[in-house]
Subunit: 379 residues, 2 copies
DNA sequence: GCAAATGGTTCATTTCATAAAAAAATGGTA
DNA sequence: TACCATTTTTTTATGAAATGAACCATTTGC
């Protein structure tokens, strides 16, 4: 139905925001005549709309924009229990949201997800008329065709074809993706860093996740293992090197994950919740301070490794709000800063952002949105 | 002269080796009719040739191959003193070679390079009739248009437009590139790993260099700083953390570069040449063993960081031949292996290869060859 | 020999992109 | 107010490029 030319226009508008037909012709390097015809098609199909006039010297240009209601998508996050499902529009805005318990058994899990999806379809009303696809984010490895969960220790799954199951039950095309990858792909399509060709994201949850965009594409690596920062070797002098469940020693997640932090807090007789722990550290409690400083420094060192290796324009670190202005964040920034090579010009910008489980669901929805916009799942 | 279709055919043949017209049509997703016409053009221009017949069930297919003598290129390496210049054909084979002292002064340097290029042109004879371009590899940062050396501590250069200077004096289009990048781009076009979409290379010289191919493209990063493994933080327990010239502590190059090794050897009263030092270690001399083990372990740890972050299919480590079967190499492999997350399937393969200054010159020549083959310098 | 299978070519047709010209919409100026 | 310069957008005529379908070529296997 839509040609590569149509998809190029949608991608450009989605990446760079509204612009005129002439701008599109310049950006894409094709003639204004071609753009005119393609845009007409997209207007007729109610995928684009003409916005306000932009006045310059001559005839004003008409801004073209992708219509938010041209399509809607469902995103499923199995990153935590409970699972989060969202219905989003073509701008990435969340229209509806629902939570369901995350069942371990694959069949039960699909069952409850299908019920939740039906609920979203009912809630969404008119906006679900053009419902175009489902995206699933999960902690684990996903097959190359983005249908099957090859392995997930968190879920206890091996070779679960959740993509096929959901497609069959919902009648909607489904894409499955690793949680960190879904997060960064959502950011690339709809987030503040949209359009940035080289950036990385790290999130600190019970585990630690990481993903990279390089040359505008997701970095998967040879076996889909790129970004496995959890097991980055970060043994620092005086840090000790605790054995990790992977069998090695000195892995990042033995120090900086929420699980490691809460475990260490329990052993030290400190509160296990991250909020009270951070509050205690803010008041100057030495053990809490040392614990969070250690964890932040470790993640800072891993971040420095990342920056030296990839030289991204931005690294976004998603943290629990309680950690935002804490010794954890400060130690992270300081340790990272002291291990990167400073050169002229603007270096890599490290920013913190609130960690929320909904980010994964939105990211998952963006997988389907990407297909709608680019006409292929080439990431 | 050549259309995008022509370049697609050249790129496919160069990447995957000889194949038939029908194979090309299948691979590129276009009709046999189109291929037929494009191939005819390339045969007429003596860029392709028909090779042997491949017999199957029906009519045998004619293998098409890129002619090695369709064009030739000059590669310049300023990676070490003396500079190395090579003349290569379109298969990457070296046809002629010459060395010249590497002058510090940019004007003198250009002068001697031009003289050497003229010498290569004279030596090359008939093969230089289709001389198509010059590539330059140098240790330092290169501007985005691949003409100017922005900064090089090794050469003492700042904003030297060596590309423009050589183009003016030789009349040949010129591409300038960082040494590590030139090396890996040469490998991608002509080396054993040609066609592999994700791999990395590390070389150990007076400094340590590194570059990555990700999704078939060179990973440059935001400011061209990707692959700066020299200053990767590798402080290991018991390693100490020597201050580095970059101002930080615990950088890889303070331990594992040839410069660091020879300096440490001098302080310990050991031979400064890497060959005798390795021989001593092979005989069991404890200080030599400890020194090389330390250096190899450090590089192994950095390699583990690399593998965890990027998950490449291969990491090629270019080493002085004396180090190949040494404690350095063994410690490298052991340390890398003990810090990567092992999963099912074939993991990253770490291989050693001889380090030779000529590799950089060949890589430099491949920059020009790439333009001939792909019609653009989009890396 | 002849059918089956596959590789490669020819050619009329369609599709696609373009350049050039025309139309539209505005600001400035006499 | 009339008119011109400027820029955006549409229309139209032209040319390049890719295609499908038919055709020819050359082998294997029976």
């Amino acid at each position: 139905m839509l040609s590569p030319g149509h998809y190029q226009i949608l991608t450009t508008l989605s990446r760079g925001g509204p612009c005129s037909r002439t701008d599109l012709a310049r950006t894409l390097g094709v003639s204004k005549a071609s753009i005119s015809g393609l845009v007409r098609d997209l207007l007729n199909q109610n995928i684009l709309c003409e916005q306000e006039l932009v006045f310059g010297v001559g005839r004003p240009s008409v801004s073209l924009a992708v219509r938010a209601d041209a399509a809607s998508f469902i995103g499923v996050s199995l990153q935590q229990d409970p699972a989060v499902l969202v219905l989003t529009d073509l701008h990435g805005s969340v229209l509806a949201r629902v939570e369901v318990p995350r069942a371990e058994d694959p069949d039960l899990c699909v069952e409850s997800l299908v019920a939740a999806i039906d609920q979203l379809r009912a809630t969404g009303g008119a906006s679900t008329e053009r419902l175009s696809g489902v995206g699933v984010a999960l902690p684990g490895f996903v097959s190359h065709d983005r249908h099957t969960c090859v392995a997930s220790t968190a879920l206890g799954w091996r070779n679960v074809d959740i993509g096929a199951a959901l497609t069959e039950r919902t009648g909607l095309p489904t894409w499955v993706e690793n949680d960190a990858n879904a997060l960064i792909l959502g950011e690339q399509l709809f987030g503040p860093l949209r359009g940035s060709p080289d950036f990385s994201m790290v999130f600190v949850s019970y585990g630690i996740g990481c993903a990279h965009i390089v040359n505008r594409r997701l970095l998967r690596g040879n076996a889909g293992g790129a970004g496995e920062i959890s097991h980055a070797p970060i043994a620092i002098e005086g840090f000790g090197a605790a054995p990790c469940r992977c069998g090695n020693k000195g892995c990042l997640e033995t120090v900086a994950s929420l699980l490691a932090i809460t475990n260490a807090a329990r052993r030290a007789g400190l509160p296990e919740q991250i909020g009270p722990l951070a509050a205690l550290a803010a008041k100057g409690q030495p053990d809490a301070l040392a614990l969070l400083h250690r964890a932040g420094s470790a993640l800072g060192l891993a971040t420095a490794q990342l920056i030296q290796m990839l030289d991204p324009s931005h690294v976004v670190v998603m943290l629990d709000p309680a950690l935002h202005d804490s010794v954890f964040a400060h130690a992270l920034r300081k340790e990272a800063d002291s291990h990167i090579l400073h050169r002229e010009g603007p270096g890599t910008m490290v920013t913190f952002r609130d960690f929320a489980p909904d980010n994964f669901a939105s990211g998952a929805a963006s997988l389907a949105a990407r297909y709608f916009i680019s006409g292929s799942d080439a990431l």
